[in-house]
């Protein structure tokens, strides 16, 4: 393995990791703030891809407007789902079970609605003008669109960090993760916070879907394809840990990228191996503080 190939493979892993992170970050945000495991998060990713396709094919918008529309559309749908349905099960005795049933039913419903509207044929979106080719860098070929995805991913990380750590809404979101009742007692509208956080998280998923559409197959069921790997990322990083999701995605992306070269026959199982090892040795996730176990 020479150095230039290592660089190429690193970038491959990074592209994969960035898209994984964008989906997983929303998943972990909802879990961290609202203690909701949103099984249907991948479906909002898929909705984003279809919304971007709709904007480009029917309204002939430019690609970047389409991606923004994808995020907005998925966010609005996410907020509606939280406001109309999920809110009704908060605090119930068997909330966990209800969450899984309810969000799983979202997957089935969203898949069928997408199929009714757009059919089962694969849809395609072209890469935006100016990002269709590649650049040569120290003798290796790097597609410009993949590099753009990585850059956008970094911007999102920085932006989320600023919002979560430096702004009042960010502090409210973090406080909500720690103690919702106390936050309510201090006069914060907690239900509204939950709806907005759900909207932001699903918008991130939709954004990822739109961004991935030129690279992947836009088809009903696309949500299921990403949810498993995103779940693995969340487990590695720690459920509800935003930074964990980023580092978890980087680890998973790079592990897959290099296992393809080193142990190609095992490439499809390495992600599960990483998850199992994490669960055995640090079940809280690699980047969450170790819990003190009391007997």
């Amino acid at each position: 393995m020479d150095l230039s190939f290592i660089l190429v493979q690193l970038i491959s892993g990074l592209t994969m990791a960035t898209l994984l992170f964008m989906v997983a970050s929303g998943l972990t945000l909802i879990f961290g703030v609202g203690n909701v495991f949103n099984f249907a998060h991948g479906s909002f990713y898929m909705l984003g891809a279809y919304f971007a396709y709709l904007a480009v094919s029917s309204w002939h918008t430019n690609f970047w407007m389409a991606i923004l529309f994808a995020a907005l559309g998925a966010g609005v749908f996410g907020m509606s789902a939280e406001f109309l349905f999920l809110r009704r099960i908060y605090g119930r005795a068997e909330e966990g079970g209800f969450q899984i049933l309810l969000t799983y039913s979202f997957i089935l419903i969203i898949d069928d609605v997408v199929k009714l509207i757009w059919g089962t044929e694969y849809k395609t979106l072209l890469r935006p003008e100016g990002l269709r080719g590649s650049i040569e860098f120290v003798g290796v070929t790097l597609p410009t669109y993949n590099l753009a995805i990585i850059a956008i991913g970094l911007l999102i990380v920085v932006f989320c960090w600023l919002v979560l750590s430096r702004t009042r809404p960010g502090r409210i979101a973090r406080a909500s993760a720690l103690d919702r009742e106390m936050l309510g007692a201090m006069g914060v509208n907690v239900p509204l916070t939950m709806t907005v956080v759900f909207g932001i998280a699903t918008a991130l998923g939709g954004f990822a879907g739109g961004l991935a559409a030129p690279l992947r197959s836009v088809t009903p069921g696309a949500g299921i394809e990403v949810i498993i790997d995103s779940l693995i990322v969340v487990v590695i990083g720690g459920m509800g840990n935003f930074w964990g999701a980023w580092l978890g995605a980087l680890i998973l992306g790079e592990v897959i990228a290099f296992s393809v070269v080193i142990v190609p026959e095992w490439a499809s199982v390495v992600s599960y191996v990483v998850m199992v090892l994490t669960l055995i040795f640090k079940p809280e996730g690699l980047f969450s503080p170790r819990k003190v176990r009391t007997v």
Binding site: F5, V8, Q9, S12, G13, T15, M16, L19, D111, D112, K115, G119, T120, E121, Y122, K123, T124, L126, R127, R132, G133, S134, T141, P143, T144, Y145, N146, A212, P214, L215, R216, S217, T219, P220, G221, A222, I224, E225, V226, D229, I256, A257, F258, V260, V261, P264, E265, A267, S268
Partner: protein, 419 residues
């Protein structure tokens, strides 16, 4: 007319209205076929096309008066492409719906599960679109019939193509990428078996097994580029092929090696999904093509499907269409859909004229393996916008004769050296 007479007349009319349809229903004899196609996710298009084509065939036959006084009827339930679920479905079809035939399935994993139900219940299973060769070799059972080519046939055609290619474009190194389950592994094993059988020399430089329905192939693509094969054989299908091609394109991948996918890579869905983005010069095939052979029968079939559904068919459609005609011909010969053993005899060796038959050839079912015998045409992507939204179709065909593609007698997967 007094009051009682009026009442009597009324009663007669009511009875006539109620009983008459029942009588007609009782007289209408039905050939019931229970199909199990996936209707969701990436394979959903295969399921939808199959059901539409089967219903098209049924409408054609029923319009002409059915078969020996019977009308055909199809019941379909979503198999979810899951073997255990499809097995429950098949049992329900047999026990509750009393179907005469089990029908369909896209995934080979589902096919291998359903053929066991068919065997135990002695119920004929018409396989329309799953390609694992095992179903007609080591897993053969007398009640299973397949009406589309299996992977051995397409890989034999692929090996012959690669052999001829040596004359015009010498190649030596080869790499493979295919989904990590029976279908992907069968293709790779059978291609090597056939290359060896036809005396073709080759050197393997890379073998890759992504997950079925993987969203991201970038690390595989960059690793294959490092291997620098002359030929990349792809066993991917459907949305996986679409995603792989889209992700590989900006690397200049298709200028650096020959992309070769002789089983399912050339399915129409790829052309319709990628439009003008689809690179030229890829060598692909599928189990049916909308633009080959250019016979009246094929043109008519494609046009009828388009008229009915508003889209052009993928290859899965023709398999289902063939399956319904096989059932109709078998019942026509036997006279009833209830005599299973006679139907098995009727299907063995049956000739079925199909849209994919070139001039002078009729598809037929091999009486020994119950596998349909058909040729295979392999083509190259060329500009062609006759089947929108596709902007590319296959052309520059090379056609391989059906009899040259059959496995040797007694062929089994474990005869192939594992790689």
């Amino acid at each position: 007319m007094n009051k009682n007479s009026w009442m009597l007349l009324l009663l007669v009319v009511v009875l006539a209205l109620v009983v008459a349809p029942v009588c007609t229903m009782a007289q209408e004899k039905i050939i019931k076929t229970g199909s199990m196609y996936p209707m969701t996710g990436r394979p959903g298009l295969y399921g939808l096309d199959s059901v539409d084509a089967a219903e098209m065939a049924i409408a054609e036959i029923n319009e002409k008066g059915g078969v020996k006084g019977y009308k055909l009827e199809l019941i379909n339930s979503d198999s979810k492409a899951k073997p255990d679920y499809a097995v429950r479905l098949a049992k329900r079809y047999i026990d509750e719906d009393k179907v005469h035939f089990l029908f369909g399935v896209v995934s080979s994993a589902v096919g291998l599960a359903v053929t066991e139900v068919s065997k135990q219940n002695k119920k004929i299973f018409i396989g329309t679109d799953h390609a694992s060769t095992q179903l007609t070799t080591e897993k053969f059972q007398p009640y299973y019939f397949r009406v589309s080519n299996n992977t051995f046939q397409s890989m034999a055609a692929g090996a012959l193509y690669l052999k001829e290619l040596k004359q015009t474009k010498p190649w030596e190194t080869i790499a493979y990428v295919g989904p990590d389950y029976a279908y992907g592994h069968d293709q790779w094993n059978e291609l090597r078996f056939n290359l060896d059988r036809f005396g073709v020399s080759y050197k393997i430089v890379g073998v890759y097994w992504p997950k079925l329905f993987a969203p991201d192939y970038t690390p595989f693509i960059t690793s294959i580029l490092k291997d620098k094969p002359d030929v990349l054989v792809s066993g991917l299908w459907g949305g996986d092929t679409v995603a792989f091609i889209k992700q590989a394109q900006p690397y200049g991948f298709f200028d650096k090696m020959l992309f070769f996918s002789p089983d399912a890579g050339g399915n129409y869905e790829l052309m319709s999904a990628t439009g003008a983005e689809l690179p030229l010069g890829l060598v692909l095939s599928a189990r049916h093509h909308n633009n080959w052979p250019e016979t009246e029968a094929n043109k008519e079939y494609v046009a009828k499907f388009f008229k009915r559904t508003g889209r052009y068919p993928t290859y899965a459609a023709e398999g289902a269409y063939a399956g319904i005609y096989a059932i109709a011909q078998a019942v026509d010969k036997v006279g009833s859909p209830d005599d299973t053993e006679a139907l098995v005899k009727a299907l063995e060796g049956m000739k079925i004229p199909l849209p994919e038959d070139p001039e002078g050839f009729t598809s037929y079912i091999d009486p020994e393996t119950h596998q349909i015998v058909q040729g295979q045409a392999i083509g190259v992507t060329v500009p062609d916008d006759r089947f929108p939204p596709a902007k590319r179709m296959l052309g520059n065909w090379k056609v391989y004769k059906a009899e040259d593609l059959l496995p040797p007698k007694g062929f089994k997967q474990d005869m192939i050296k594992k790689q």
